[in-house]
Symmetry: C2
Subunit: 204 residues, 2 copies
């Protein structure tokens, strides 16, 4: 599948030395390859080849394919692997609270504009929506559910996604008060039990 | 405040006879006046004057200001007054289920494109977001909460909004499976208890 990836005539095929130049080249190549082949179809090898960079640099700079995708395509302000480790570190009965606390803390700190840009890319590019869905369901919420979810992981993952996306829409995009200014721990108290039930509770 | 509303030179000032022409003129005038003055600042009298139509026609065609707003600005595929009456008709302990069932039924029947258009207008026009917030919080969820909500009506209303908007985003805009194809009664079972808690439960 990946053998036939075309490279434009302007692409460098030689290896580049490490450094910020390498990093930027990987981000640029990754954006193209992920959009062309989807998350699962894209390989680190193809991305590195297109960037003219050693494949080991992907681990070095981004901690793997997920991290490169999160930065290059989603422009997420966090490393997904580290985030999932943080979410799983603690009592299972508090995982809903930890998810809400991390979500609101990250996006409050990043500023609503970045979240709004993410939502715009979902609403205007069908391809972006599908790639994001695959990524979120399998590699963020999916990893959490594989550790602690009882059954129906994919439905649970999309339910969690629905509440988090909606919370972000109301807090950062539409900025509906009072939710837009409600402090983090009050958000955790209000929304944490919803996420907890979607992950470990009875949903049928 | 509304005295100074300007009328373009092309506007008709004379009364029009009733009929679909009147209806269309009201929708056109309403769109302008609501955007200029917001939901609360706009009056039926000013809209009717701009349309060159008797103010009684607003009640006749739209059942009042909310109905005109829902159709002219939000292009909602339902009459908000009738919807709220339907939601309030039944056991308070099932209101979360009724809200989810009505939400999914209405938008499944309308087609996802209309919901996507609504979300796009929120993400690209700050004014549209504020007007929508006022309308939803005060005149739809607000009316429900005035009947059955214990306290913190505005926070509860925005929490309900967050889950409904997110459910619509995942089901109609991003179309994340399996939630996008989950049947209505399974959605009611999964999301109904969330909405119920946001309306009548302990959220702190």
């Amino acid at each position: 599948m990946t053998k036939g990836v075309t490279q434009g005539p302007s692409r460098r095929r030689g290896r580049r030395p490490g450094g910020t130049d390498t990093r930027a080249a990987l981000v640029e190549a990754a954006r193209e390859v992920f959009i062309e082949h989807g998350y699962d179809g894209a390989t680190v090898r193809v991305i590195a080849t297109r960037a003219g960079v050693d494949a080991a640099m992907v681990n070095h700079w981004f901690g793997g394919k997920e991290g490169l995708f999160a930065e290059a395509v989603l422009k997420l302000p966090f490393n997904p692997k580290e985030l999932v480790d943080r979410l799983l570190d603690g009592d299972v009965d508090d995982i809903g609270a930890r998810i809400v606390r991390n979500f609101v803390t990250i996006w409050d700190n990043t500023g609503g504009g970045v979240f709004t840009a993410l939502i715009r890319s979902i609403t205007s590019h069908e391809q972006a929506a599908h790639v994001l869905r695959d990524f979120l369901v399998k590699h963020i919420v999916g990893r959490v559910l594989n550790s602690v979810g009882p059954d129906r992981h994919e439905l649970r993952a999309t339910l969690v996604g629905s509440q988090l996306v909606g919370m972000g829409m109301v807090r950062y995009v539409a900025q509906f008060e009072p939710l837009a200014s409600t402090d983090i721990e009050m958000m955790v108290a209000a929304v944490g039990p919803t996420i907890q039930r979607y992950i470990t509770g009875d949903i049928t």
